[in-house]
């Protein structure tokens, strides 16, 4: 099963409610996947700042004094906001690669959830409600976001096996389905220089899109490529810094429903996820066509 959601706001007045809207959407799909849950929120750009979301199984140990040690190592102040097992490290965009490498050198146990100018990613084992509460997702603001609640089929139930997967700056993906050619595609992407954290099929789909976009394709073109290059069952919902996309495989077994109003575009595995959105009774509600790319950009 698995449940996926996505919300792309067109109306800026809803931005303060992004976290609470997306949280309720995801919680409504809890019985589609009890193993783990995750959410990626694209915050409003705040000028000369970049962020890295990190995770540790031993946060008290790994996050202690990390800001001071990072600042000493790179020579500029670094801000760290800890949220349970995750923390958001803020620095300037030009320092982001150096900070990332330094974190991994100083604390090899820390995992990188994602990085970019605006994205923050939180994912853990547990039900959506527990994950949302743990990271206080309801209070988060932003322009768009995606979420996932997992019933594991392809790899272990771990934090790193939870979605969203992020394999490029401000890029992330959630997936309902399972891929059958992910080992081959992973090998090809490794040869190109991509790095993988897990054995998970969805990470391969995320890396495939990152690779396509790194080669100059836009989100829509990259999603189009999944239809010929990825084999298996999939409904993907994808976020980029300013975009939001959806694609389903040609067989389209995995459920999907979308809604659009003047205020937002929303995706849910089921209508339940959309039922409480403002103005849903007058929204355009439709089932995305198989093998058809949908994307929106700010």
């Amino acid at each position: 099963m698995c449940g996926i959601v996505g919300l792309f706001l067109k109306d800026k007045s809803l931005e303060p409610q992004l976290g609470s809207m997306l949280s309720e959407m995801l919680i409504s799909l809890s019985d589609r996947g009890p193993d783990s849950a995750g959410i990626a929120i694209y915050g409003s750009p705040s000028g000369n700042e970049a962020k890295i979301t990190i995770q540790s199984a031993k946060p008290e140990h790994d996050f202690r004094n990390l800001d001071a040690e990072l600042a000493r190592a790179i020579g500029t102040p670094v801000n760290i906001a800890v949220k349970s097992t995750h923390a958001v490290v803020r620095t300037t965009p030009d320092k982001i690669d150096e900070v990332r490498e330094t974190i991994q050198a100083l604390r090899p146990e820390i995992r990188i959830m994602g990085a970019g100018d605006v994205v923050e990613i939180y994912k853990e084992v547990g039900l959506p409600e527990a994950v949302v509460n743990r990271f206080d997702v309801r209070s988060m603001t932003g322009t768009h976001g995606i979420g996932h609640t997992r019933m594991a089929t392809e790899s272990a139930v771990t934090t790193m096996g939870a979605h969203p997967f992020s394999t490029g700056a401000d890029q992330c993906l959630v997936h309902n389905g399972s891929l059958s050619n992910h080992n081959n595609v992973r090998r090809e992407l490794i040869r190109e220089g991509m790095k993988f954290e897990t054995e998970n099929d969805t990470e391969v789909a995320a890396a495939y899109l990152s690779s396509q976009m790194a080669h100059g394709k836009n989100l829509g073109q990259a999603l189009e490529g999944t239809l010929s290059d990825l084999d298996g069952f999939f409904t993907f919902v994808v976020g980029t810094k300013n975009g939001f996309g959806v694609v389903r495989d040609p067989i389209a077994c995995k459920p999907a429903v979308m809604a659009e109003t003047d205020q937002y575009v929303a995706f849910g595995s089921e209508y339940r996820a959309l039922a409480k959105l403002p103005g849903i009774d007058n929204a355009t509600v439709w089932e995305p066509e198989p093998a058809t790319v949908y994307f929106w950009e700010h």
Binding site: A252, C253, P255, V257, E270, Y271, R272, A273, L274, A275, K276, V285, W286, E287, E289, P290
Partner: protein
């Protein structure tokens, strides 16, 4: 006064029994529907705030009317045996799955595998139905006012599928004896499904289905009929490529 009591009793029997799913759990609704007997006088039911709930009014086996005010999730009216269900909204996957008799009308769209494996009754989708509509149908009649998606009527065994709009890829793949009537264009036909002559008995059958589904302004002669070429009934190694 006995006369007043009698008129009060009659009034109650005509009033709808209303279940608001925002207040009452779905299982209580379905339990109450399952407790109906042929002697029950609660013949009109109304369901409020379904908000995409799964399994609304499954397994009803009495001839009551059920009006669902809003959109439903998976399997609404599944196994229906005699009730007349109207969904005043859209339906998720598997609406009317394995219906035995009665009717289900969806005022909006229906998701995947509407009417799958249905053995009887009438399923009317006033909007579009998506993929696998009528998959493995075994006697149900399905009338779709709009379009249907790919792989519809896959392995359909008997019954009738009527589509006023277009049909997607691979219509009627590996079909047995179901009859398919499509008014618009068919993206492609599945293995062993072919266009067939529309004879007078088919026009009569189709007109009857259109009438029962409340379709007006559309003539039976506007449709084409599709069905089985009957070459895949028994496995023949020479047909292996067609499967």
């Amino acid at each position: 006064m006995p006369a007043i009591n009698l008129s009060k009793a009659l009034d109650q029997s005509h009033a709808s029994r209303i279940f608001d799913l925002a207040e009452i759990p779905l299982r209580e609704l379905n339990r109450a529907l399952h407790n109906l007997t042929a002697r029950s006088n609660e013949t009109a039911w109304e369901v409020l705030n379904p908000k995409g709930s799964h399994s609304v009014a499954v397994g009803v086996d009495q001839p009551v009317t059920i009006d669902v005010r809003g959109s439903v999730g998976y399997y609404c009216g599944g196994m229906n045996d005699g009730s007349a269900i109207t969904v005043h909204g859209s339906a998720g996957p598997g609406v009317g799955e394995n219906m035995m008799s009665g009717s289900i009308t969806v005022k909006g769209d229906a998701s995947q595998y509407a009417g799958a494996t249905g053995r009887g009754g009438l399923l009317v989708i006033e909007g579009n139905a998506s993929s696998r509509c009528g998959i493995s149908m075994k006697g149900i009649d399905i009338v779709v006012h709009g379009n249907i998606g790919h792989m519809s009527a896959f392995m359909a065994q008997s019954g009738n599928l009527v589509v006023l709009g277009d049909a997607g890829d691979a219509l009627g793949d590996s079909i047995y004896e179901a009859r398919l009537f499509v008014r618009g264009k068919v993206e492609s036909l599945g293995a062993d499904c072919i266009a067939k002559e529309m004879r007078p008995e088919h026009l009569d059958l189709l007109q009857g289905l259109l009438d029962r589904a409340g379709v007006t302004g559309v003539k039976a002669a506007e449709f084409k009929r599709y069905g089985s070429a009957r070459t895949l009934y028994n496995f023949n190694i020479d047909n292996a490529d067609a499967y």
